[in-house]
């Protein structure tokens, strides 16, 4: 089942097209990373998903039905950092949210336990560190055991220890609590360790959606060939339909998929009388694939 499904979302602010064409499919049980550079339209898309902003075009389905405010009862959200009442204690902040959502004191205790804040819940929030605030906001989002948790840049401003803490929390949610997580970030390496699915957006448009393996496979592999007459070899390979990067240090880089392609390349060059002294196959890093997708926009 798809918990979030959007079709060609659009949103414009004056002359700025913040979201031009965003299509998402978030399956139940996933940790879905919604990636894109700053200003790519991630937050605007999240605002639309949460009913904070209206789409100018396209459609949003939550839990298999067109968006309706009542669907939000099954969603927990943390948008653009924690928003807490500093003059209240951690517990009082939880009570504010619990009253609004109808959560019980047992659910408050459970949510505080998940984020490991039971001991500090009696302190005023103005004395909390940023990491504690983030965890308390996450506890608020986890009240009433939502089916879907929407987190917008949840590690923004945190130190490495805080980032690691939040990452561990998120990683355990689908299996431990049965919660699907939709997580936005502009840092690929941050989500790589927790996410199962990936959606990449750039300049307001969806560029990719799938698993990390899909992303690697989409881009193909790099075959590096060392050959005696690189310029002639480059021409030959191009004539045979390969994507070839110009020679560096008498070595050519060819984008192709799989060992079969490498073997075919080698056979082609040897048959044409070239002397092949190096051949290696390299899988692209996710970062390379991500940059190619976002920079192309």
């Amino acid at each position: 089942m798809l918990l979030i499904e959007t079709e060609h979302l659009k949103r414009r602010f004056g002359r700025v097209e913040a979201v031009r064409d965003v299509t998402l499919r978030v399956p139940a049980g996933a940790v879905y990373a919604f990636l894109g550079p700053n200003g790519a339209g991630k937050t605007t898309t999240i605002r639309i998903l949460l009913g904070l902003s209206r789409a100018d075009g396209g459609a949003v389905n939550l839990f298999g039905a067109p968006f309706a405010r009542k669907c939000l009862a099954r969603v927990g959200a943390l948008v653009e950092g924690p928003t807490l009442y500093p003059h209240l204690t951690g517990s009082e902040n939880m009570q504010v949210r619990a009253r609004l959502t109808g959560a019980s004191s047992r659910e408050i205790a459970r949510a505080l336990a998940i984020v490991r804040l039971e001991r500090d819940a009696g302190r005023l929030v103005r004395g909390y560190s940023l990491g504690m605030r983030q965890r308390l906001a996450l506890a608020q989002a986890l009240l009433r055991s939502p089916q879907l948790l929407v987190l917008d840049e949840p590690t923004n401003g945190l130190d490495p220890a805080g980032i690691s803490e939040i990452r561990e929390l998120i990683r355990g949610l689908p299996t431990g609590q049965g919660i699907t997580v939709f997580l936005s970030s502009h840092l690929l390496n941050e989500v790589e360790q927790v996410a199962t699915h990936l959606g990449i957006v750039a300049a307001g448009r969806s560029r990719f959606e799938g698993t990390f393996d899909d992303l690697r496979a989409r881009r193909g592999e790099t075959i590096t060939i060392g050959v005696d007459r690189p310029a002639e070899a480059e021409r030959l390979l191009r004539d045979n339909g390969f994507t070839v990067h110009p020679a560096v240090d008498r070595r050519l880089s060819v984008i192709a998929a799989g060992r079969e392609a490498a073997a075919r390349l080698n056979a082609l060059l040897v048959a044409a009388g070239f002397s092949v002294h190096h051949l290696s196959l390299e899988r692209p890093s996710l970062e390379q694939a991500f940059f190619e997708l976002t920079e192309a926009a």
């Binding site: 605002r47 949460l50 009913g51 904070l52 902003s53 209206r54 405010r69 009542k70 669907c71 939000l72 009862a73 969603v75 959200a77 943390l78 948008v79 653009e80 924690p82 928003t83 807490l84 009442y85 500093p86 003059h87 209240l88 009082e92 009570q95 504010v96 009253r99 609004l100 959502t101 109808g102 906001a137 608020q140």
Partner: protein, 249 residues
């Protein structure tokens, strides 16, 4: 039921806030000033007679003209600031609750606080009279204590201020800047001072209603109470409808 939940949450958030202290502090300042004036000029007031009406009118007049518009400005700005300061709206309005309930619940809280302040003004006025009777034997505030006069004028002031509350509530939720909200209230109050001199234009400017209603510019304009109450109700509904359609920053 949902509205009640939102309203209780709004009240819960008032803990340890300046907004609650102002409900007591602002009336206290005004009544204290009147108390000191009566205390210092006891002989003058003793010869003048009609002590309770004089004290009640002075307190209500000073409160209604000087402090009430400022008090409303401060309270609406402080309550809206609770949400604007940390951008709470984006989390409150991503819940499965109609945004209009948040708008209306906050308005009810402000109205409650203004009502509480009016009650404090009236109570302190009576307290000041009784204290003066004890401290200054020349000032014999007579029995019976005129509860009806004091609380009646407080209620009229309250009703005359409803439209100001509704306008200021909309302004303070519409613009997140605390400075803008305070500035708007100050400008409106100063404009009220000027416009209340004009019998022609004063009834069109809500900030003059407390003054006109108290009869400080000609005969008391009781009909303005209806204008204030009806205008506040219309503006509250319009504001709530506009609020639910608003994009959240």
């Amino acid at each position: 039921m949902t509205f009640l939940r939102v309203l209780l949450t709004e009240i819960h958030k008032l803990r340890r806030t300046l907004a609650v202290w102002v409900v007591f502090a602002a009336p206290f300042v005004i009544v204290l000033l009147q108390f000191l004036m009566f205390h210092q000029r006891a002989e003058y007031f003793a010869t003048k007679g009609v002590l309770w009406p004089t004290l009640a009118n002075n307190c209500a007049g000073m409160w209604g003209v000087l402090m009430l518009p400022l008090f409303i400005t401060l309270e609406t700005s402080l309550l809206a600031g609770l949400e604007h300061a940390e951008k709470h709206w984006r989390h409150l309005l991503s819940l499965a609750i109609d945004p209009a309930w948040f708008y209306l619940a906050k308005l009810v809280v402000v109205l409650g606080m203004v009502a509480a302040a009016q009650a404090v003004v009236a109570s302190l006025t009576i307290g000041a009279g009784l204290l003066l009777r004890t401290l200054k034997p020349g000032l014999q505030f007579p029995d019976p204590i005129p509860f009806e006069l004091v609380f009646g004028s407080s209620l009229r002031l309250y009703l005359s201020a409803l439209l100001i509350v509704a306008i200021h509530h909309w302004v303070s939720l519409r613009w997140p800047s605390y400075a803008f909200s305070l500035g708007f209230g100050m400008c409106a109050m100063v404009a009220g001072f000027l416009i209340m001199q004009s019998p022609r234009y004063a009834p069109w400017f809500p900030w003059t209603y407390p003054v006109l209603n108290l009869g400080m510019q000609g005969a008391p304009r009781i009909e303005l109470l209806y204008v204030s109450a009806a205008g506040a109700a219309v503006l509250a509904l319009a504001g709530a409808l506009e609020f639910r359609r608003r994009d959240v920053a």
